[in-house]
């Protein structure tokens, strides 16, 4: 089974995690492959990762998120995260991922941020 389910809404690809734990090697590899695939198939992607179902993740996932951010930026897309549970948010803060990734409390807030297009975009 795929780790992510995606839908497109107002030009934003929203990816939802299908499982509450992303821990084992197989899961993480699959996540990385799926993310690469999503970014490769959408030019200048606006990608929103919705974390509402996620309760556990391993440290390897943190690295994958950084790699994703680099890839999306390189391809001139935008990446945002939303709905991260408080205990996972603490992990993001301690590892300073909150300084590298744009995180919104809710999906609506993230969507609103996407809607504010930059002057040079599109």
């Amino acid at each position: 089974m795929a780790v992510l389910a995606t839908e497109k809404y107002k030009d934003v690809v929203i990816a939802y995690f299908q499982e509450s734990s992303i821990l084992d090697e197989r899961n993480i590899r699959s996540l990385a492959d799926e993310l690469t695939d999503i970014v490769d198939r959408n030019l200048k992607i606006d990608l929103l990762l919705n974390f509402e179902t996620v309760e556990y993740l391993s440290s390897a996932v943190l690295g994958k998120l950084i790699a994703l951010q680099k890839k999306v930026t390189k391809e001139k897309g935008r990446l945002k995260l939303c709905a991260i549970k408080p205990n996972i948010m603490e992990v993001f803060t301690v590892t300073r991922l909150d300084k590298v990734l744009e995180i919104h409390k809710t999906q609506d807030a993230a969507m609103a941020a996407f809607a504010k297009k930059g002057f040079f975009r599109r």
């Binding site: 084992d24 556990y56 391993s58 690295g63 950084i66 408080p86 992990v91 590892t95």
Partner: protein, 161 residues
């Protein structure tokens, strides 16, 4: 890395003694062969055992502690034993009324604490690995690397309920 949690231990506690100072119980002693696939089952067992012994009563710590242990085990398999499946990772967990500790030993070449990057520097912000050490620094109370760096002892003080 200037730090008050992570130390290069001068030498391990007396190898003739079964327990490090301050601990009165061996809660678990096991090994597994170095494969990434083994980490998750091993981790589940460790977490179950810590919970059963009342060390995880602060539920907000379950997730970060799990990540700390995950990072330490991944380090042992990947960086210590270089994914060599003939090499083993040894785990011992110690308990007392006020603390628990985990000792992880791999059969690799080790490293020194001085080799760790400066996590406060701007350049390390975009690193794709090594973030576990930041979690370890935050959520563990004492960390000692022994011998050539292939043994680590991580101590967590808790209020058992």
């Amino acid at each position: 890395m200037p730090d008050d949690v992570i130390h290069q231990g001068p030498e391990e506690f007396d190898p003739g003694k079964e327990l490090p100072d301050g601990f009165n119980q061996v809660l678990m002693k096991e090994f597994f062969y170095s494969s990434m696939e083994e980490i998750e089952p091993c981790m589940s067992e460790i977490m179950k055992m810590l919970t059963l012994n009342g060390y995880m009563s602060d539920e907000s710590h379950i997730m970060p502690i799990r990540l700390c242990l995950d990072e330490a085990l991944v380090n042992a398999v990947k960086h210590g034993n270089k994914n060599d499946e003939s090499k083993r990772v040894h785990i011992t967990i110690y308990g007392s009324t006020t603390s628990w500790a985990i000792r992880i030993e791999d059969e690799g070449e080790g490293f020194t604490v001085k080799d760790l990057p400066d996590y406060d520097a701007e350049e390390t912000l975009l690193m794709e690995s090594g973030r576990g050490v930041l979690l370890i620094r935050e959520f563990m109370d004492e960390v000692y690397y022994y011998d050539r760096g292939n043994r680590v002892l991580m101590i967590k003080h808790v209020n058992k309920e």
